[in-house]
């Protein structure tokens, strides 16, 4: 894979040697794949808006070129919706962790899937809270037999099933250990008209000692080429089938472009606004 041409993504970004991730963190793979995908898509950095979540993963917004915003834990998707509504021309990507998206941010996740804005959500799923040093996230326990669950340790949330149930129109899965495949998934996500959700398995080498690169290599399996991604039933069946077999699907699980109404950029984003005519408002109150 060539990284030639991806240089542009290093401008306006934290220099490589200052990146704070642990050596070997899966998020490096996501960063590489993301830069590659953006390069292939010839996206212009100044038209890109990266909305970071709170967590190790969310830091990625500063590690590549493009406008970036970073607010509260769990909030990334909702900021992104507002930005996209204000300026549909922007390329908006939310970049967050599994804790950020599926614990504190689950309210936003479910509803943004329904809203179907034309943007990408890239979740770096490591099954733990990395930045706060390794507590369980809602996706903790992937592939682990759990004889009994308890109130303290409920069964994991499957992000794919939740996205499907929430009417997401693009649901895909990738693995940062396979940068080439991840790149392809990111490209397809950007090309999807509507809300594109990618669950990327991004190992936390420091705190998740179970879902390691090795573990993933043993368990990932590509979505079969004959899978009908346009069928919701097939998508459900595929996710269930993989889970039953103890495998993790990589690829596009569901894709069904919903045609959302297209809006214009809101007035007054840069220029002055001419004096408005309030007559239509006043007429109704006379």
């Amino acid at each position: 894979m060539s990284t030639k041409g991806t240089k542009i993504w290093d401008e306006n970004a934290v220099p490589k040697h200052r990146i704070q991730w642990c050596p070997g963190c899966g998020d490096f793979g996501v960063l590489a794949a993301l830069k590659q995908a953006l390069t292939e898509l010839e996206i212009v950095p100044h038209e890109l808006l990266l909305i970071g979540g709170i967590g190790c993963s969310g830091q990625i917004r500063n590690y590549l070129n493009g406008n970036a915003f970073h607010g509260t834990h769990g909030g990334a998707l909702a900021y992104a919706v507002g930005a996209k509504m204000a300026n549909p021309d922007l390329k908006v990507v939310a970049l967050a962790g599994d804790g950020d998206t599926l614990a504190i941010g689950i309210e936003n996740f479910v509803h943004v899937c329904r809203r179907d804005p034309d943007m990408v959500l890239l979740v770096m799923n490591n099954g733990v809270y990395g930045l706060t040093k390794g507590q369980d996230s809602p996706t903790a326990g992937l592939g682990q037999e759990r004889e009994e669950f308890s109130e303290e340790h409920p069964p994991m949330v499957d992000p794919l099933l939740l996205a499907l149930a929430s009417e997401a129109t693009f649901v895909a899965q990738s693995f940062s250990g396979d940068v080439k495949h991840a790149t392809r998934m990111f490209v397809e996500a950007f090309q999807h008209p509507g809300f594109a959700f990618i669950n990327d398995f991004s190992p936390c080498v420091t705190y998740n000692k179970f879902n390691t690169y090795e573990w993933f290599r043993d368990h990932v399996e590509h979505v079969p080429p004959d899978h009908d991604a346009s069928s919701k039933d097939a998508a459900w069946a595929l996710v269930r089938d993989f889970a039953r077999r103890g495998k993790v699907p990589l690829g596009v699980v569901y894709r069904n472009p919903r045609r959302c109404k297209r809006f214009e950029r809101l007035p007054m984003w840069e220029d002055e606004l001419g004096e408005v005519d309030l007559e239509p408002v006043l007429a109704a109150f006379r």
Binding site: F69, A86, E272
Partner: protein, 626 residues
Amino acid sequence: MRTNRLKLLVGGVQLRDGVTTVTDLLGKIFTRAGLYAIAMEKGYASTIYGAHQYDPMLVTETPAVSYGDPDIDILVALDYDTNPDAKQQPNRDTVLRHGGFLRDGGILLYDASTGEIPTDDLEARGVKVFPIPARKIAHTELKKEVVKNIIMTGALFRLVDFDNDTAYLTQLLEERFLRKGRELVDLNLQAAARGREAVEKILAERGYELTVRLEPRPAKKAVYVSGNDCLGAGAIAGGVRFYAGYPITPASGILEFMERYLPKYGGRVLQGQNERESIRAAIGAALAGARAMIGSSGPGISLKVEEIGVIGATETPVIVVDAQRAGPSTGMPTRPEQGDLNLVLGSGHGDIPRIVIAPGTIEECYTLMLEACELSDKYQCPVFFLTDLNLSEGKKTVLEEVFAHRPKVTRHAIVREDDVRGKTYRRYEITESGISPRSVPGTPGAIFKTSGAEHDEFGFVSIDPAKRAAMMEKRMRKMDTYLREDWKPPQVFGEVRGAPVIVGWGNTRPVLEEARAVLQARGIKAALVHFTHVWPLRRDALDALLADAGPVVVVEQNYSGQFADLLQQELLIPTRRVLKYNGIPMHPTEVADAVQKALEREGAVVRIGGTAPVKVEVGRNEHEGD
């Protein structure tokens, strides 16, 4: 005979009797007739069928300052049978609740469809009683029950000798119903005529003489609008093109207004799926360059608090409207209070620059909103706009000239491509004013990194002590710039030097102006100092203003005296307090009485309506949440 001054109150069963349908119609017609109407002390109980609802209205020839004291000239009772709230007293709920405020010699007009009610005690005070079986007439004669309120309206118009040729009523009915057919208009006009006739008959039988009349004046251009309408119009004129809300009383009206009108101006409205989605989306829209606003009330603002910090730290301009209602918690959703001052002053952890503005009148909901729009853009910090239930949902005749004030909407400190050519753009550049030029995504050469985490000038996260100190100071310097360039001193009525000073803020100004007049009439020369720009405060200016003043009495509608605390803390002066928090708006005479009491001793706290023992009734649920 008194001409062109009328206080009336319309009461009935919520969602059934159409109380506000009547008062909205009256307000509109009186406004068109060149008169001034104020209906700002609405009483209702969330949208639960069966509860009592009332809407008082003052009609005057020249603009009144406030609704005034709660006395009534004409009481219109639309309830006509047992309502769950008044099981033992068919048709008497409105009369029982409000009859005591009827002036001696006033008028009671009530729906007598289910029989007449005992009114001896009222008649003993000279009250003229007009029992009109409106629903019965509508049902049996006109075959359409909904026109019962037009019968009552016709009756009321006869009682005040108004619109005898039905010109105003005809025009309004035609506007409303003509597209549904002439018959509907005629039916309504017939109903109005029946109401008149019924009054005519009683007048003849009982020999009553009428004492109040309304007379049309040369009409000026005016509208009958709520505070929510006005602040919505102000936001549109002020450049807001993105609005997000989550339904909550009394801010829902803004959401409805915006959904109706903002798209006509190229804007978009988001009904968030919860409070946080709303404010976050507004932050995102502001980030992308749109002027953005959210509206909510106390419980919703509480939920949005974490994002207030984001707005402050990321320096993203968002206007936050808090239409206050009584708290804490769900409190009293349909009752006014000035109880959220501490919330908006203290919301968010860490120190955040913020501006708090509170309009005093429905007109100011428009004019000050224009200012709020500019301030948010200029200072890139949270700008709170505090109204309350009365101001938000109350309605008033407002001259259209108010809306003629439409300053040019400009952008402050926006970086364009030309500004950054050949330079390195720094989103959080350390500046003298504290304001850093902002770029909008899509601007070539001005890529920004924004973060709510502490950051350096480029927006990269940093915990370097020197950078932290410089960035914190930069942000907070905006408040000094604001105080120098945009702060508005309080409005002062009367001579402060040597006199007792009444201090108020926000929506109570009209009542305080009238309370001051009441005191004046009693020989007490008090000044009134009223704040619309509530935070930050300019200490030097206020110190100078109050240096030679007499005792300072802060009057506000909350339990503790939140603004009084703020003044004490900022100016290091003692305050006396007059406080009301029972859910009923303040009235001039009771305020005057309370101020007089507060002047009697240092450190006095006088509570209005909060000390009487209350009879406890179990099992009555007259006030559900929303």
